[in-house]
């Protein structure tokens, strides 16, 4: 099927009443959780996952995807108006976005973010339509050795990008791998780390861990500053960028989109790396670099374009290789598998309506988001001021229902509570949970591919270096690790990540 026919099929799938409605619901919910600090797309998607089991598979995926990229839009609203990142990926937006708001240019900053995001979203979806079929064709050249190397790259990327020390990130990744090993060994059927309880024989459900760490843990952490939470929301004036604004933000949006599109495909990088890199690049190349940190519109447009572009293109490895680059993508795989669809190179030929429907719905969703976020920004600003003593108990109830309904298991609810406390502890000691969650998902996959690659090669580990694809991937991973040892890069990383805190 060529792209044109594919897009036609996608349009007919995405514009059915149900799919259109759920796409809207998804982006609406995504914007809401993006706006609210302390509630992110991972926790939201985990909570809603069991409720999508009854929907058709295309509808479910369209809605869940909408939540994810919708939160990228919503996150910037809070960042600009309140100097609080609604989402991790909008931390850099606070730097110049909130400065602009202080200067009375909040509306123009919001417009820059939304327009940048929309443009990037459009390019991102187009890129999926072109690149995903190509990669699916290439996917057959990926054997066990290549998959293993790709996973190693993903894990190392997520460690290098985590805030805090590399050692902490390594510890978190190793802990995550251990959590992933709990359960029954895939080849021999032996029970591992189950402490004799049958509840652990199936392993830990990663939705349980993610909901605990990201949902409950965030709620606990936010309770601390509930009293001191300032309700200072900047006033929104004109939403129309000036001619000067347009001129200044056009090139940064293009560059941000390019960076986001490429980095989104890289496993383990996620949307955070994209927004950081785009900001760093603009700061270097911009003629107004002195204004950065003092309200430069480039510093809003570029990272917002980048994070949204990455939010679209990170679907590519998930759909075509079945390889989740981020925790959110692992949730999407879960949603597909539950419905009997195995992501992988066959998905385009076996589920064309699902694939193309998703691509088109993403573009439609981005269009809806543009309208949701600009004219309605006042509504979202009000949402920020919803008192947490109403919101948090509701979140707690919803996560408990959500987790319980996955397996009808009370044990899972207790596990989630335990991981909630653990999540709070991680927050207190400054250990970022992203590498833990990713390692928990990718660890068992890495083990499976490592064992298979070595079985096929009769124990000869050189297969990882004789395949050019695998060798190249491992070299990139090694360079990433080395770069952190180099004092110059370390300084850049620390500066970049400090700005987050």
């Amino acid at each position: 099927m060529d792209i044109f026919n594919g897009l036609m099929l996608g349009f007919s799938t995405a514009t059915t009443f149900g799919n259109f409605l759920y796409c809207f619901l998804g982006v609406l919910l995504g914007t809401a959780v993006g706006v609210l600090p302390g509630l992110g797309p991972i926790a939201t998607i985990s909570m809603l996952l069991p409720f999508t089991f009854g929907l058709p598979v295309d509808t479910a995926l369209i809605m869940l995807a909408g939540i994810f990229y919708g939160s990228q839009y919503g996150g910037s609203t809070t960042a600009i108006l309140m100097n609080l990142p609604g989402e991790a990926s909008s931390v850099v937006t606070t730097l110049d976005g909130h400065e602009m708001a202080k200067q009375g240019k909040a509306g123009r900053a919001l417009a820059a973010a939304a327009i940048g995001s929309f443009f990037a979203g459009t390019v991102g979806t187009l890129f999926i339509a072109i690149a995903a079929p190509l990669l699916a064709g290439l996917a057959l050249t990926f054997g066990p050795a290549e998959y293993f190397s790709l996973i190693v790259l993903g894990l190392i990327t997520s460690m290098v990008l985590a805030s805090g020390s590399l050692l902490t990130a390594l510890g978190m990744a190793l802990f995550g791998m251990m959590l992933g090993m709990i359960g029954t060994d895939v080849n021999s059927g032996a029970a591992r780390f189950t402490f004799g309880t049958p509840n652990l024989l199936d392993g830990l459900d990663f939705v349980v861990v993610a909901t605990g760490v990201f949902g409950l843990g965030e709620v606990l952490a936010n309770l601390e500053n509930e009293r001191s939470r300032s309700a200072g929301i900047a006033q929104v004036s004109s939403l129309f960028p000036t001619r000067e604004d347009w001129k200044r933000m056009a090139a940064p949006i293009l560059r941000g989109t390019g960076i986001g599109v490429l980095l989104g495909v890289l496993p383990g990088a996620g949307v955070l790396l994209a927004s950081f890199s785009a900001y760093a690049l603009e700061k270097k190349v911009s003629r107004h670099s002195a204004e950065f940190g003092k309200g430069a519109i480039e510093g809003v447009a570029a990272p917002e374009a980048a994070n949204n572009a990455a939010a679209q293109t990170c679907f590519i490895p998930m759909l075509t290789l079945g390889l989740p680059g981020t925790a959110t993508m692992a949730l999407m795989i879960g949603a597909l598998v539950v419905q009997g669809v195995q992501p992988g190179p066959e998905i385009l030929t076996q589920q064309p309506a699902l694939f193309w429907g998703l691509v088109v719905s993403m573009w439609l969703g981005n269009l809806m988001l543009l309208f949701l976020n600009l004219p309605l920004v006042g509504v979202w600003a009000k949402l920020i001021s919803v008192p947490y003593h109403y919101l948090f108990p509701m979140i707690c109830v919803f996560v408990a229902i959500g987790v319980y309904s996955i397996n009808n298991s009370v044990f899972d609810v207790y596990m989630m509570a335990l991981f909630g406390v653990l999540g709070y502890f991680f927050k207190k000691v400054g250990a970022e949970p992203a590498p833990l969650i990713l390692a928990m998902i990718l660890g068992p996959m890495a083990e499976e591919y490592l064992r298979r690659a070595l079985l096929i090669s009769h124990g000869d580990a050189s297969v990882f270096f004789t395949s050019p694809l695998s060798l190249g991937t491992l070299i990139v991973a090694a360079l990433l690790l080395l770069s952190i040892i180099s004092p110059r890069f370390r300084k850049v990383r620390e500066e970049g990540l400090q700005e987050v805190d």
Partner: protein, 325 residues
């Protein structure tokens, strides 16, 4: 307003929570049920599981949902079933590994399929199909054996899990031909097929459904079927017996089982529904296109099949020819 909303929410939560515990009273089925699939979506075992779930949903007017618990050659799903309540709301449909072979193949199996399961019916059966990638060093079974003799320890044959029929059928060929074969377990058929198409592994022995279209497209080569006679779906592919292994006959089956102590009337109701469905001409046609033949035997007949399967594998395990890797 807020308070009332919250109370409604709490009520919903309580309702949802109570629906998880079994209502044993009343007529079965009074609530949705679960059909466990022991392999990932898309493989033969999973296709049959989904067909059965649809049949039960249509017949009994309650939703029967498929849950995939792939891993450890079905032992993960088997363990899940063994721990489930025997109220007729959880059953499993699977190839023979978690229902029979795992008992002798996996030393650490957390359940005993002959004790912890209630047989319902064998849904369908089929021969296994030996396939080779386009770049494989052999174009027939004889060439494969010759290659294995010339390159001891170099032949890898993929299977959808340790103890699956694909694994066992390959082990028997190795035993009869006196060659060493490395068995590479996969997590079900789809990933094995992907690796075979990509040439990362050169041979696979598995249920035929997923491979049929690719053999017809000549993207992979069918080397042999394990049944005594050739199959109608691949008339050009010779049997193993034809290629020098007289009387070689291996059939794989897919069956439905429930947890230990499932009420006989529910077992019979499910068996009856499946039997009724397999008797329909449309079903037969559908199964044939997948390379399968309908069986729908009685629970007692299935019990005998399980026993026979286990006894036929035990000597292979004792001889060290079939073991998890």
């Amino acid at each position: 307003m807020k308070r009332r909303e919250f109370m409604v929410l709490g009520g919903t939560a309580a309702l949802l929570a109570s629906s998880g515990t079994a209502w044993s009273a009343g007529k079965w089925p009074s609530k949705p049920g679960v059909v466990i699939s022991a392999y990932p979506p898309g493989g033969t075992s999973d296709i049959i599981t989904r067909l059965v779930a649809d049949v039960l949903t249509a017949k009994f007017g309650q939703q029967f949902v498929v849950e995939n618990h792939a891993g450890a050659a079905g032992a993960l799903a088997g363990g899940k079933l063994a721990r489930a309540a025997a109220d007729g709301y959880t059953i499993m449909v699977s190839g023979s590994a978690p229902i029979a072979a795992n008992k002798v193949v996996q030393k650490n199996l957390a359940y005993d399929p002959q004790v912890d399961f209630t047989p319902i019916t064998i849904v369908a059966e089929s021969p296994a199909l030996l396939t080779a990638s386009a770049s494989a060093p052999a174009k027939s079974l004889q060439e494969l054996i010759a290659y294995a003799k010339a390159n001891p320890g170099k032949v890898n044959i993929g299977n959808p899990g340790a103890g699956t029929k694909g694994h066992i059928a390959a082990a028997i060929i190795g035993q009869l031909a006196g060659v060493e074969i490395n068995h590479i377990p996969y997590k079900g058929s789809p990933p094995l097929l992907t690796d075979l198409l990509g040439g990362h592994i050169h041979f696979a022995l598995d249920a035929p459904s997923n491979y049929l279209p690719h053999v017809r497209d000549s993207k992979i080569r069918g080397l042999a079927v394990t049944s005594l006679k050739r199959t109608s779906e691949l008339p050009d592919v010779p049997t193993v017996a034809e290629q020098g292994f007289k009387d070689y006959d291996q059939t794989l089956w897919f069956g439905a089982v429930g947890p230990k102590g499932m009420p006989a009337e529910i077992v019979n109701a499910i068996q009856g529904a499946i039997k009724e469905w397999t008797d329909m001409p449309a079903t037969k046609e559908k199964l044939t296109s997948l390379g399968l033949t309908a069986v729908a035997n009685t629970p007692d007949q299935m019990r005998v099949s399980i026993q026979k399967e286990i006894e036929s594998i035990r000597p292979l395990v004792d001889a060290g020819l079939v073991q998890p890797t």
